[in-house]
């Protein structure tokens, strides 16, 4: 190698180093553990879609405005396999090895807690996109923020809608899955129902590994409830509704959290889905307008439909909203310094396509008028709030 080529090589190396260095200095890295395999694989991919939508939009406009300079965003993704150990390991890997600036939480509630635990020690802000149970935010973590409003608001609205629409519905049977979120929804319901003067004729939990729900459902039938309330993940709820039909279990009000919110629930059940109610954390017919990459609920809805050929549900929206909140906090703080962004998040008070985002002391997004929907004519119809109401509660035939 002669002198010229050595110089050339050196120059190339230096340029390369500078370029990478510069490129790195100009991107914000966000770590995203995704459930691509395992028990939550179906739910987890919704997050992936939402993240991607936001990422494309934000980079299309040059990135996030950090104190006057635009920085592009890079998403670092791994499959955490719906396993707690992987989630914990992944959190540390993303922070220490990939050197991400911020973290997104995995889909699973318990796994969110574990990731938050790691992030807390490092002082890295974590955005929880699908956590609505108080139990997830009860460890005093200061760096954990979640865009979903607490569960209690949803059941209160639900009870209000039902007691007004079908006042004769007084006896409620509750069947919940023994898993963080579904169980939380069953417990808040039983508390709220008691307060509202309803009679809880049955409260049972089915295990995570349940293959068949015929027995608990048949038990419910014998009690002749006015209101049947079941929580679980999509496959549990599809099974439950089908078995209700099989065993001729009827009630004027049937609620499944959060079945009707998801397209696959309605598709799988066909006519059996008719009349099922649910609470949701967001509905695409809302008319929010905000200063975010979409600007309005409609814009988000349109892009999603064009891309996925189906309606977005609250999981998609909350995931995108989490990134919006992070983005806004960074803009507000004017820096990507983690502690300052964390403070900016804590004091954030904005309106977005998703609705208002303002975090309470424990990191949960503030309560709001959560929508209640019912499947009518094969489509989810909004019953509440008034501003976007599309129909009234009908008893299940």
């Amino acid at each position: 190698m002669n002198v010229k080529s050595i110089f050339g090589l050196a120059a190339a190396l230096v340029c390369g180093a500078l370029a990478t260095g510069l490129a790195q200095a100009q991107t914000i890295k966000i770590g995203a553990p995704l459930a691509l395999t395992g028990g939550l694989a179906d739910e987890g991919k919704k997050q992936a879609i939402a993240y991607d939508m936001w990422l494309k939009r934000i980079n299309a406009q040059g990135g996030i405005n950090v104190g006057g300079k635009k920085m592009r965003v890079e998403l670092v993704q791994y499959d955490y396999q719906t396993q707690e150990q992987r989630a914990q390991q992944l959190a540390e890997k993303l922070i220490v090895d990939d050197k991400v600036d911020f973290l997104l939480a995995p889909f699973g509630s318990g796994h969110t807690k574990v990731v938050a635990g790691v992030a807390e020690r490092y002082g890295v802000p974590v955005m929880a996109t699908s956590a609505s149970s108080d139990v997830i935010f009860n460890q005093g973590y200061k760096f954990l923020f979640g865009t979903l409003a607490p569960n209690s608001g949803s059941v209160e609205n639900l009870i209000a809608v039902v007691t007004k629409g079908i006042p004769s519905a007084k006896r409620i049977a509750i069947l919940g899955r023994e898993d963080v979120f579904p169980k939380a929804m069953a417990t808040v319901m039983s508390d709220a129902a008691k307060k509202a003067g309803l009679e809880i004729i049955s409260l049972e939990y089915y295990p995570v590994g349940a293959l068949d729900l015929a027995t608990p459902i048949a038990k419910i039938r014998s009690l002749k409830p006015d209101w049947i309330y079941i929580t679980g993940y999509s496959k549990d709820l599809v099974l439950a509704k089908k078995q209700m039909a099989d065993l001729n279990v009827k009630a004027p009000v049937v609620t499944m959290i959060t079945g009707p919110v998801y397209r696959e629930f309605i598709d799988s059940l066909g006519p059996l889905a008719e009349g099922v109610t649910s609470a949701s954390w967001w509905h695409h017919s809302a008319q929010f307008k905000g200063d975010d990459p979409w600007g309005s609920t409609k814009a988000f809805y349109d892009e999603f439909v064009a891309r996925e050929k189906s309606d977005p549900d609250y999981v998609h929206a909350a995931a995108a909203a989490a990134l919006v909140a992070l983005q806004k906090a960074i803009e507000k703080a004017g820096t990507i310094d983690k502690a300052k962004v964390r403070d900016a998040l804590a004091s954030l008070d904005i309106m977005t396509f998703y609705g208002p985002i303002k975090f309470s002391a424990n990191g949960m997004n503030g309560g709001r008028d959560l929508p209640i929907i019912q499947v009518q004519g094969g489509k989810p119809v909004v019953l509440h709030p008034e501003s976007i109401k599309q129909g009234t509660l009908k008893p299940v035939q």
């Binding site: 922070i95 939990y205 995570v208």
Partner: protein
């Protein structure tokens, strides 16, 4: 020549212990998992390797240790003591249950041991008032920055691994090991020769529980939150025997080599292949079964003998 493996192990141990000073916390975490799985593998080796009883109870002991340790810690017990008590409780449980389960052999024992995992998981779920059930259980968070915590748990796991290793050496060299090997070769003959098979088997089963219980309890403190399905993980209970199989069952160093190789392999594959990592790992396992039936160590032994 016989000293070489011990020296190698000592060096490996020191290397792992030195990781906090050599590399980032990510590597500290990997080192901690290496130590953790080595200890789990060494534990399994007692009942699965030496005695030849294919146990799938690792997760049962791990989970039991986790919940016991968590509950004791939340009740105010000092962390280290909680871990020790969890280990004791798990061992007693293993001894008692072993009495019943160890009567079966081969496949039946294997099935019984898996049933233990599922049954305990359901019990943890059902006793929701105590354990939080499906909602999970918060464990008191150990104060300290990430470096400090990383070190605490690395050395905890290394300590447990060392204890498991020393126990393995003692068992391997001693009468218990001899008895267990006899049982593996021909249980009825061993019985006739005068070995108290029931006592020996129970001892092996109990030994396989001690360290798993301690690790479970330490793990609970580490992540500060446990739930039934994650603490009694079927995947864990299946992976650990594979690790020992990979390294060489019934040997002192087999579990260590096997677990290290498996963890490193998994780590590399998982981070490199986003969509296919499971298939790649499965493929590796399949190839290992075909080409390394006695584990890695047997290959070395054959070479050494030749």
């Amino acid at each position: 020549m016989k000293r070489l493996p011990y020296v190698a192990f000592a060096l490996w141990f020191l290397l792992l212990a030195a990781v906090p000073f050599l590399a980032s916390n990510y590597f500290v975490k990997i080192a901690t998992f290496l130590a953790m799985y080595a200890a789990l593998a060494l534990s399994w080796n007692f009942i699965g390797g030496y005695t030849g009883y294919p146990s799938f109870s690792t997760a049962a002991f791990f989970g039991l240790g986790a919940y016991t340790g968590a509950l004791l810690q939340n009740a105010g017990l000092w962390v280290g003591l909680a871990w020790a008590c969890a280990a004791v409780v798990t061992t007693v449980f293993a001894a008692v249950i072993g009495f019943a389960i160890l009567r079966m052999r081969g496949h039946y024992f294997a099935i019984g041991s898996i049933a233990l995992v599922e049954a305990l998981m359901l019990v943890a779920s059902i006793l929701a008032d105590l354990t939080g059930g499906g909602e999970g259980l918060n464990v008191k968070i150990m104060p300290g920055g990430p470096d400090y915590i990383g070190r605490v748990f690395l050395y905890t796991m290394l300590g447990i691994m060392l204890a498991a290793f020393i126990t393995t050496v003692l068992v391997d060299r001693g009468r218990l090991g001899f008895g267990l090997r006899c049982i593996q070769q021909n249980e009825d003959a061993a019985d006739m020769v005068g070995i108290d098979t029931r006592r020996y088997k129970t001892a092996a089963f109990a030994l396989s529980a001690v360290f798993c219980g301690a690790i479970g309890a330490a793990y609970a403190s580490w992540v500060a939150y446990i739930s039934p399905s994650d603490s009694f993980s079927i995947l864990l209970t299946l992976k650990v025997p594979v690790m020992v199989l990979l390294g060489g069952p019934g040997t002192i160093f087999g579990p260590i080599v096997g677990s290290a190789a498996f963890v490193m392999m998994e780590e590399t594959i998982w981070s490199k292949y986003l969509e296919y990592h499971q298939a790649v790992l499965g493929l590796v396992i399949v190839l290992l079964i075909f080409f390394l039936p006695g584990g890695v160590l047997r290959v070395f032994r054959r070479r050494a003998a030749a």
